[in-house]
């Protein structure tokens, strides 16, 4: 019987015939942590009695969640991380470098066929470039730092196929929101996704990252795609390691298929306070907006800002609104400056914050006030997510956020394209 991508990557890294349901102990290719999780990982690592990490060249910590530090408590965590970096010789991406899930592939630490863990739930992002990458907690990360290994239960896989070509104004964000709305927040718990289809084949790598990033929002362990020519070219431009692309066998066994026809899809909106509370934009009604956010590990890439800039060029963010933009990395910021995207957005009234997680996690950079509605390109709209439990967060594509900024309410981007 054939194997899925998950079975193949976990087999190759454990030296065993990894089949659905097996527990394997697998060798890790790269391990990341961020400033919200690495402090506890350092404590666990020290409590394990470990003196040295297994291989400093395979470990990075990225300071992105509260960056630069907004208070002395966070500063203490950042100092602890910097001290650990010096002591262990691992890689540190300090304030302003960007979000871990942009940095890891952009700086060449992830290549097709890799097995990567990260102490951040959106580590599944690199599935878009054929990496089995998954989020774990701080103590699992510490065990990885110590041994270079982690145990995995080999997941069953849902095969998702997006048929048809994308209509105007509909983007990868809308596709993944549609899936999450359909299968719900725990529709893929303990499972991997393999994502295919014509709509994917024609999509940029930036756009694919958006989809794999949100695999966790339906509970999935990984959101895997094949490494086609577009991916291999992208990886070649970023990585120093050799890729080992992995394809599923034709006779691989899936737990179930999910097919979505994208050709008639509208822009999608996730309403408060769960990511699976998804409706087509025509059904969202009249929702006044006070704050917009374009950025995060979901939609903070160059293409996302270019799409927003195209809509906002020569227009203004409505007076009743604030638009915050947070590029996912310093490189993206530089690219935005170079091609004029940055200036277009600032001229339209956007406010830029440090490359990183921005206001997504609710620690700084734009906490909404009581009763305010936010429209965001992020991946979560949980109550309190942006730092205020009395605010309401709606999720959509960069185009939808841009259009909504012009009108001061949730607006369909198709009329601006």
């Amino acid at each position: 019987m054939g194997k899925t991508i998950a079975e193949k990557i976990l087999s190759a890294h454990s030296g065993k015939e990894a089949r659905v349901g097996d527990i394997v102990i697998a060798d890790l290719d790269y391990l990341i942590g961020q400033d919200g999780t690495s402090g506890i990982a350092i404590d666990s690592f020290n409590n394990m009695g470990t003196k040295k990490v297994f291989d400093p060249s395979k470990i990075a910590i990225i300071i992105d969640h509260s960056s630069p530090s907004p208070n002395s408590g966070v500063s203490a965590i950042h100092k602890k991380i910097r001290d650990f970096q010096k002591e262990q010789g691992i890689k540190l991406y300090d304030i302003g470098c960007g979000v871990c899930h942009q940095i890891t592939p952009e700086q060449g630490h992830a290549v097709p066929g890799d097995l990567i863990i990260g102490a951040d739930s959106h580590t599944c992002t690199y599935g878009a470039i054929n990496v089995f990458s998954t989020g774990i907690g701080s103590t699992d990360l510490a065990a990885g730092w110590t041994s270079g290994k982690l145990w995995f239960k080999v997941p069953d896989t849902i095969k998702v196929i997006y048929n048809g070509s994308l209509p105007r104004g509909v983007y990868s964000k809308d596709l993944i929101l549609k899936l999450i709305g359909d299968i719900t927040a725990d529709g893929a718990t303990y499972l991997a996704l393999e994502i295919y289809g014509d709509a994917i084949a024609n999509m940029s790598v930036d756009a694919r990252f958006t989809m794999s990033n949100m695999a966790i929002e339906c509970g999935a362990k990984a959101g895997l795609m094949e490494a086609d020519k577009m991916v291999l070219d992208w990886v070649k431009a970023h990585a120093r390691k050799k890729p080992n692309p992995v394809k599923a066998d034709k006779d691989a066994k899936y737990i179930r298929p999910v097919e979505i026809d994208v050709s008639k899809l509208e822009p999608q909106i996730a309403k408060p306070h769960t990511v699976d509370n998804v409706v087509p934009i025509s059904q969202v009604g009249d929702v006044p907006i006070q704050q917009g956010l374009i950025g995060t590990c979901t939609n903070g890439r160059l293409e996302d800002f270019q799409i927003a800039a195209k809509i906002l060029k020569g227009k203004k963010v409505k007076d009743s609104c604030r638009l915050i933009i947070a590029p996912a990395s310093k490189q993206i910021l530089l690219d935005m400056i170079k091609d004029g995207t940055y200036q277009t957005l600032l001229n339209a009234g956007a406010v830029a914050v440090t490359p990183g997680c921005g206001p997504c996690v609710g620690t700084h950079n734009g906490v909404p006030s009581d009763g305010e509605n936010v429209i965001s390109t992020a991946n979560r709209n949980f109550k309190g997510r942006m730092g205020n439990p009395n605010a309401f967060i709606y999720l959509g594509s960069p185009a939808t956020v841009a259009a909504s900024m012009i009108e001061g309410k949730i607006a369909d981007p198709r009329k601006y394209l």
């Binding site: 527990i23 102990i25 400033d35 919200g36 999780t37 402090g39 506890i40 666990s44 409590n47 394990m48 009695g49 470990t50 969640h65 509260s66 208070n71 408590g73 966070v74 203490a76 965590i77 990260g118 102490a119 951040d120 739930s121 580590t123 989020g135 774990i136 907690g137 701080s138 103590t139 699992d140 510490a142 065990a143 110590t146 041994s147 290994k149 982690l150 145990w151 239960k153 927040a185 725990d186 718990t189 303990y190 509970g219 362990k221 769960t274 996690v361 609710g362 620690t363 906490v367 979560r380 949980f382 109550k383 309190g384 997510r385 730092g387 439990p389």
Partner: protein, 167 residues
């Protein structure tokens, strides 16, 4: 392992996420787990921490602990004095994090457990005894890996004992 205490339930039953368990606005600011634990479930039930007696249980529906990988979530539950979380199902990362910290995450049908019910949980026999209602509820069998981690008292202790994974 035998545990006893009263059940706590929340106005939201399914999809209780890690932001509810411990909000991002606290998890960065406060490093002391004892202090952080005072904010457990605050956005869902502001007085929850005050109502906990050591040994009590959190009881919930589907997909408990969905969302972020923050280990502060099971950590605050443990430091708040909760002895186990009983739910219809758990999100994967939260589930792993619980056992890594030695906190049982128990899958069971919770329909016959109400807030305030006195429960006795026997992890060896796999039974929840609802003393208030006088009925027994079966626990889904614990996977062997989780039994090992729980017996060792979490992943840190497991590593100290075995100098690596022995599962």
């Amino acid at each position: 392992m035998k545990l006893a205490g009263k059940a706590h339930r929340f106005k939201q039953d399914d999809d209780i996420n890690t932001d509810y368990i411990i909000s991002g606005r606290y998890k960065f600011k406060i490093q002391d787990p004892v202090e952080l634990a005072k904010h457990v479930m605050e956005d869902l039930d502001p007085d929850f921490y005050k109502r906990i007696t050591k040994g009590d249980f959190i009881v919930a529906g589907r997909n408990f602990g969905c969302g972020s990988s923050r280990e502060q979530a099971p950590m605050v539950i443990k430091y708040a004095g909760i002895s186990a979380v009983i739910a219809k199902s758990f999100a994967r990362i939260f589930y792993r994090n619980c056992y890594n910290l030695g906190l049982p995450a128990i899958e069971a049908d919770v329909d016959k457990i109400e807030a305030g019910d006195q429960l006795e949980v026997d992890l060896n026999s796999g039974i929840i005894n609802n003393k208030t209602k006088g009925l027994e509820i079966k626990i889904a069998p614990l996977p062997p890996t989780m039994q090992i981690l729980l017996k060792d008292g979490g992943l840190v202790e497991h590593f100290k004992k075995h100098d690596g994974f022995k599962i």
